[in-house]
Symmetry: C2
Subunit: 553 residues, 2 copies
C-alpha cells in the first residue's frame, strides 16, 4: 500500500500521522509545496503582534519530527503539478532543484488548502500589499511592523482581519479596516457584532463599512488606498483578508468534480469522484451538519478530523464525516464572539422556517465579582424546537456556551432539552439557571404558546403599529426607550390594566425580556392580545446600532 | 386553585414564580421558616471571605419583591408543623408571634431543603461550632472572623468545607481541614483530587485525611478538637461540613414515603406518594440520570428545575424530571475541579462494567501564552461506548469541558461522538483537537481494538508483571519513571525491536499517553502483546500521589 498526500498542514499532516498509526508497512509520501509542515495557522496574527514572540512555537511539528516519529517520506518545497488517474501517478516538481518526477500511488489524499483571494484591483500586487496564510507571510508583515510601519489598512473585517487589527493595535500601528458588508464579521448576524464593532473603535481602529479598496497606488508615504466612497487612506502596509478560495487547480485538471464555489466534491467518506482519491480540509466542499447542504468552511478543526477520516477510508476502514457545523470563535481584546450552526442570515437565504430567542445575562452569578455580560442568540425550528444555530458575544464564558450548544446541535437536541441541561454551577462559573437554560425557557415558552414573542424586525415592519408597552421602571424608561412606547412598570401592571386598549395588539418589553415575559403572562390571562419583544430593549438596541452606517469611522 | 409551597429558597421560590406565570388567578402561599427567601446559598463562603462584601447581594430576591412582582402570599418565619392530607390543610406556626393556624391547599409543594448533619460527638453543640446553611450561619461565622479569630478547624473536605477553607485563608485564619475519607472531595475519584489537595497545602491549609473530629471541648484558647488519631487541634471556630440530611420530618409524619437515606420519594412528575403533594430540591430522592437509580443530590440547579416542573404538574401540565447528573464544580484559588455523571467509585460500587481514559492537555493552544494544564477523565460503557461520567481538574477551561460532557451524557452520546465534536477553536480558547476530542480518540481507539490500554491499577495488581516500556526521552526518564521500567524512546523504537521480549506482555507508557499510543501501534503491528498505560506517567503519578497518607499534614 502506498499513500501519497498532497499538502502537509492541518488535514494533510493529520492524515499522514493517522495513516502511519494504521499501518507500519505502508509507504507514506507527504508532499508539501511550502517550506513548513503543520504550522499553527491560527497563531500567525499573534506572532505579528508579538503575543507569541518565538516563531518556532508556531511550528506544530517539523519535517524532521514527522520522519523520525512517523517514518513519513516528507518532501517540502515539492509541488504536485498533475495527477494521472489512469496511471495512478502524480507529477512532482522539486521547487529547489527544478527536478520534475512521477510518484506512483495506490491511494491519494488531497489536502492543498485554500488560497487567500487577491481581488483584481489595481495595485493588489504591490510589494507592501499582503495576504496572511503562511509563516512566510507573517514574517514579511512582522518585518514591516518591526521596521516601524505607522499606518496599515486591512481589507476585510472577517476573522483574520480582526485578529490582525488587534495585533496591529498592540504594535502601535494606526489601523483602518474596511469591509464591503455593512457589518464586521459577516459570518455572524449583524446585531451580534455590535459589541465587537464598538470594541474596535474603542481601541482606535477606524472601521469603514459598506466599502472596500477600489485601487492601491504607490505614493510618497507608502501606498494610497482608494475607497469605494472615493475617499482614500495612506498606509505603509495593506493586508487583504477578503476570504479564501479552494486550491482546486490540481483536482480540476485531473477531472475531479468541484462545486460552484470551487470546493472539491467529496462523499461522506471524503472520497472525490475518483474512489482512489480523497480530499480534505479547506479545499473541499462538505455537507452542512443538519441540513446536508453543500458548504465550504475553511477551519482547522474540521480539516484535522477530515484528515483522520480520509486516512481511515484509504486503509479500508469505513469512516464517515458527519458534516461541518462551522463552529468559530474570535477574540478581540477580551471581547469574544462565537457561533455554531446556522446563522439567521443563512436560514433566511435558505428560506427555512425558524424562530429565534435572545438572552442577555452575566457569564456567572451576578453577585460574585467579575461577572461579564454575555448575549446569546439561539435559532430553532418552529415546528419541532430542534436547534439550528447559536451565536454569542461578550467576554468570558462565551466559548463555553457555544461549545455546549455545538454539542446540543450535534446531538439533534431541541430547545426543550436546553431547559433540562445540568451544567456546572458555582458563583465563579455559572448560575443555577445557566444562560443556556434560560434560552431554553424562553424558546420553550414560545413554542408552547405560553410566551408569544414578537421580534423587533416584525414590529418595525408593521404598518399598524402595536402598542409598545415598556414595563421597566421609570428611571430605566427615562434613560432610553423605544419611540412611542408607554411606561407601566411590571409591578404596577395588575393595577393599571384599565389603561391598556383591549382591541389593539400590545408588545411588551423590558430590558432583556424577563419582566416582559411576566407582563405578557399577566396580560394574556386578562384577555389582551399581547406578545413579548424578543430579547427586550437590549436586543432592540443591538438591532438599531447594527444598522447600516455608511462610511462613518 | 390554591397552591401552598413549603420552603422559599431555590426550589420553592422557583415553583412559586412559575406558578404565578401559569396562573394569575391562583392563590399561592409561600411559607418559609427562615427570615429570608431565595438567598444565594452558594455565595455564603465568599461572603465570609469578603469576596462578596455586601450581604444584600446574596438576597436573590426578597419577600417584598415576590409579593409585588408575583403577587405571592409570602410568609417568612412561618414553620409548617404538620400536613393533614385528608383535610388538605397544613398547620403553620408563626415563629414571631407563636400563633398556630391551619392553611388549606389544593396542591402542596414541599421544598424544605436539607439540614447540615451535626455529628453526635461531644461538644458539637458548643457556641463556636457551626454549620453553614443560612445567611444567619454565615453572619455568625463572619462575625467571629471579623472579630479576629486566628485558628479554625473545618470538619469535612467536601465542597462547602473547601470553599470555606479558601475564604478562611483569604481572611488570614490558620485552617485545619479534616476528612474521614482518605481524600478530599469524596464525590470525585481520588486521583482527580491530588491537584486540589496540593493547592490546599500550598496555601498553608493543614489537611488531615482519614480522620475526623471525635470530640470538641472548650479550652483556654477557644476549643480543642480531638482527632481520630488521638492528636488534637485548638481553634476559636469549628465548622462542620460533613454532609446534609433531607428535611423530611414533615413528610414522614404525613405518611409520605421516604427512601433509605431519608429523601422524600417522588415519581418523574415529582409527585410524592400523595398525588396532591409534590416535593423538590435537597429534600427529595430523585433518579440518577442514565441509570435511573435512586440518588440524593443536593444542588441548586436541579432544585430550581424541579421547582419549575412541580409547579407545571400542580397546574395540570404533565412535565417530567429527567433525573440528576450531579454536575458539580469547585474553585479553589484558581484551581478548578468539576464532575458530571458517575464517578468511577460509584460505577465500581454498582458493579457496572466500564472503561476509562485520561487526557492531560492544555486548556488552549500550547503556543499561545497562558495555557493552563487540564486533566480529564471520562468513563464509558465498554460494550457501546456510551458516556457514563467525566471529571476534570485544572484551572481555566475545566468548567467548559465538563459542561460539554454533561450535555453529551444528557444526549446519550458515545465516545465516538466525542471524536466528531466541533468546538470553538482559536489559540486563546481551544485547540483544533480539543481535550474532549482527544478523550474520544483515546476511548474510540480502545473500543475499536486499535489501542489496547492497561490501567495502572491493573498493572499494580498483576502477580506476573509485564515489561514496562518507557518511550519518553532519556532526560524525561531520568527525571522520574515507574520502578522497573526500561527506556526506549519512541523515535528509536522501530530500530530497537530486538531488545523487547516477544513472549512477555509489554505495557508502554509516555508522559500523557500519546507517544505510548504510537509505540503500542508499532509494537502491535510487529506481533508484540502490548498495551498502552492509560493516561501515561502523569496518571500513574496521580494515582500514587493520591494514596492514603494517614495524618501527614
Amino acid at each position: 500500500m502506498k499513500l501519497v498526500i498532497v499538502g502537509g498542514v492541518a488535514g494533510g499532516a493529520s492524515a499522514a500521522a493517522r495513516a502511519r498509526r494504521l499501518s507500519e508497512a505502508a509507504e507514506i509520501v507527504l508532499l508539501e509545496r511550502g517550506p513548513d509542515v503543520s504550522f499553527a495557522n491560527c497563531g500567525l496574527p499573534y506572532h505579528v503582534g508579538e503575543v507569541i514572540p518565538q516563531r518556532d512555537k508556531l511550528l506544530v511539528t517539523t519535517a524532521v519530527r514527522l520522519r523520525e516519529r512517523f517514518r513519513l517520506d516528507v518532501r517540502t518545497r515539492s509541488e504536485v503539478e498533475a495527477i494521472d488517474r489512469h496511471a495512478k501517478t502524480v507529477r512532482v516538481r522539486d521547487l529547489d532543484t527544478g527536478r520534475v518526477y512521477e510518484e506512483g500511488y495506490d491511494k491519494l489524499i488531497l489536502a492543498p488548502g485554500a488560497a487567500p483571494v487577491r481581488p483584481p484591483i489595481p495595485g493588489a500586487d504591490l510589494p507592501t500589499v499582503f495576504t496572511l496564510r503562511t509563516l512566510g507571510d507573517a514574517d514579511r508583515i512582522k518585518a514591516l511592523v518591526d521596521g516601524g510601519v505607522r499606518r496599515a489598512v486591512i481589507v476585510g473585517a472577517g476573522f483574520i482581519g480582526l485578529e490582525l487589527a488587534e495585533n496591529f493595535v498592540r504594535r502601535g500601528v494606526a489601523t483602518t479596516i474596511l469591509d464591503r458588508n455593512r457589518q464586521v464579521l459577516s459570518a455572524f448576524d449583524a446585531e451580534m457584532t455590535t459589541a465587537i464593532l464598538a470594541a474596535l473603535r474603542e481601541r482606535g481602529v477606524e472601521v469603514l463599512l459598506g466599502q472596500t479598496a477600489e485601487a492601491i497606488a504607490p505614493g510618497p508615504e507608502g501606498v494610497t488606498v482608494t475607497l469605494t466612497s472615493g475617499d482614500s487612506r495612506t498606509a505603509q502596509l495593506v493586508v487583504l483578508g477578503v476570504g479564501v478560495r479552494p486550491e482546486n487547480p490540481l483536482a480540476v485538471r485531473a477531472g475531479l468534480e468541484v462545486g460552484p464555489r470551487g470546493g472539491v466534491r467529496v462523499n461522506e467518506f471524503l472520497q472525490t469522484t475518483d474512489p482512489d482519491i480523497f480530499a480534505v480540509g479547506d479545499a473541499v466542499e462538505t455537507a452542512e451538519f443538519g441540513t446536508g447542504e453543500r458548504t465550504q468552511v475553511p477551519l482547522a478543526g474540521p480539516a484535522n478530523r477530515q484528515g483522520r477520516i480520509a486516512a481511515d477510508n484509504a486503509f479500508g476502514r469505513a469512516s464517515k464525516y458527519r458534516g461541518t457545523q462551522a463552529t468559530a470563535i474570535l477574540g478581540f481584546f477580551g471581547h469574544t464572539a462565537a457561533a455554531t450552526g446556522q446563522s439567521e442570515k443563512s436560514l433566511k437565504r435558505a428560506g427555512r422556517p425558524y424562530r429565534k430567542v435572545y438572552v442577555h445575562a452575566a457569564h456567572h452569578a451576578g453577585y460574585y465579582p467579575g461577572a461579564e455580560g454575555l448575549s446569546l442568540k439561539v435559532t430553532f425550528d418552529p415546528a419541532t424546537g430542534k436547534l439550528l444555530g447559536a451565536q454569542a458575544v461578550g467576554g468570558a464564558g462565551v466559548d463555553k456556551r457555544i461549545d455546549v450548544l455545538a454539542v446540543a446541535i450535534q446531538a439533534g437536541m431541541t430547545v426543550f432539552d436546553l431547559e433540562e441541561m445540568e451544567l456546572c454551577n458555582a458563583p465563579q462559573f455559572g448560575s443555577a439557571k445557566d444562560t443556556v437554560n434560560m434560552a431554553g425557557f424562553v424558546a420553550g415558552g414560545l413554542l408552547r404558546g405560553d410566551h408569544p414573542q414578537t421580534d423587533w424586525e416584525a414590529v418595525a415592519g408593521l404598518a399598524d403599529k402595536p402598542l409598545l408597552l415598556d414595563v421597566r421602571t421609570p428611571p430605566e424608561f427615562a434613560a432610553g426607550h423605544i419611540p412611542g412606547a408607554v411606561n407601566i412598570p411590571v409591578d404596577e401592571l395588575r393595577g393599571r390594566l384599565a389603561e391598556l386598549p383591549k382591541g389593539r395588539p400590545v408588545v411588551a418589553y423590558c430590558q432583556v425580556g424577563q419582566r416582559g415575559y411576566l407582563a405578557t403572562r399577566i396580560l394574556m390571562q386578562h384577555g389582551f392580545d399581547v406578545s413579548n419583544l424578543g430579547g427586550g430593549y437590549k436586543t432592540y438596541q443591538l438591532h438599531t446600532t447594527a444598522r447600516p452606517e455608511g462610511t462613518t469611522g
